[in-house]
């Protein structure tokens, strides 16, 4: 379950940058062609944030659409999973976007 180690990295990245402030919201961008499962992320997030300044923060996952170009007919198609096929029948697809795995933003609360 690689989502666990990615979530550990996520929490330490936030902790390094948000010291002293309470984290209330974490926004991730996850492409539909990336090799991670959003639900697995949510599960790991609760486990990994326990006892950290990220504990209790809301996790928002923005799923980004996938696009690919068919290597056979050169059509550009929308793709919702990494195992799709082009309308021409070919499975030889070059992914154009949808493999993102990014921490977009973090909402923190600090005392004035």
């Amino acid at each position: 379950m690689h989502e666990m180690s990615l979530t550990q990295d996520l929490v330490s990245l936030i902790a390094e940058n948000c010291a002293g402030r309470r984290v209330t919201r974490v926004v991730l961008e996850v492409g539909k062609l990336s090799a991670v499962v959003p639900d697995a992320f949510r599960f790991c997030f609760d486990l990994c944030t326990e006892g950290t300044l990220v504990e209790g923060a809301a996790l928002e996952i923005l799923e980004l659409p996938g696009r690919a170009r068919c290597r056979d007919c050169e059509a550009e198609i929308a793709l919702d999973s990494p195992f799709g096929r082009c309308a021409c029948g070919s499975g030889a697809l070059q992914f154009l976007c949808g493999e993102e795995l990014r921490l977009k933003e973090v909402e923190v609360m600090s005392c004035a």
Binding site: L6, D9, P82, A92, L101, V108
Partner: protein, 280 residues
Amino acid sequence: MCVTCGCSVSEPEHTHSHAHGQDQAHSHDHSHSHDHSHGHSHPLVRGTSARVETLRFERSLLAKNQRLADANRAWLAARQSVAFNMMGSPGAGKTAVLEGLARHAPDLSLLVVEGDQATERDAERIRQAGCRAIQINTGTGCHLEAHAVAHGLEALAPEPGSRIVFENVGNLVCPALFDLGESARIVVLSVTEGDDKPLKYPHMFRSCQALILNKIDLLPYVNFDVSRALAYAKEQNPELVPFQVSATRGDGLAELCSWLRSVPPLGARESEPAARGAHP
């Protein structure tokens, strides 16, 4: 706290038994700026003096591993050495292929970083076949990461011009996501598995440069269609170079060996992956 790279104790667990030789100090490039732009308002939270602030990151979750992998690649380049990331299901015969290479091509003098959740068994097998090997136990981890491999490389202390194989934890899913600093990736698929594996594990087959189809000596006894498996693999990744191998009988090892020799060390100044798809 790890003294080599300053990582915290909350790092994903791994164990490694070696001394840190001073002259092999492994430098991780940790110079990175966390520049967030702060284009937002700071509203006061009603009834308190707390302010809500939005910090923009736009950082890949793989950035940390990627940084360490790039440091590994630079470290290897400085030693004119080349590393391969070998992946595949448990039981595909990854270790057997390495043993076969050690026996059939001893002049290749492979060095091996072994990744398994537990035990030194695979490293022992490699040593008995005549190669130097370091074992990394990932504990609960399902894949190798660049940080653990950095320590493995230090312990291995490769001579200039070495060929090193990182034998990943047996798994066709997770290892595909983590760059270790290799120049090329190899997936091992055996004919005792399904010939549709390339379709079922597209990330793995897309991310590799070579495919070892192992255990071909068993083809008469199993229902495995070689041409179909290769067609599926090529569909996922037209650039994949296939090798049909029997690690135990020796078929295909000479061709594999030539390919391993043909991958050039990275120039000291370039530390980009040789032929990998770039991560976003």
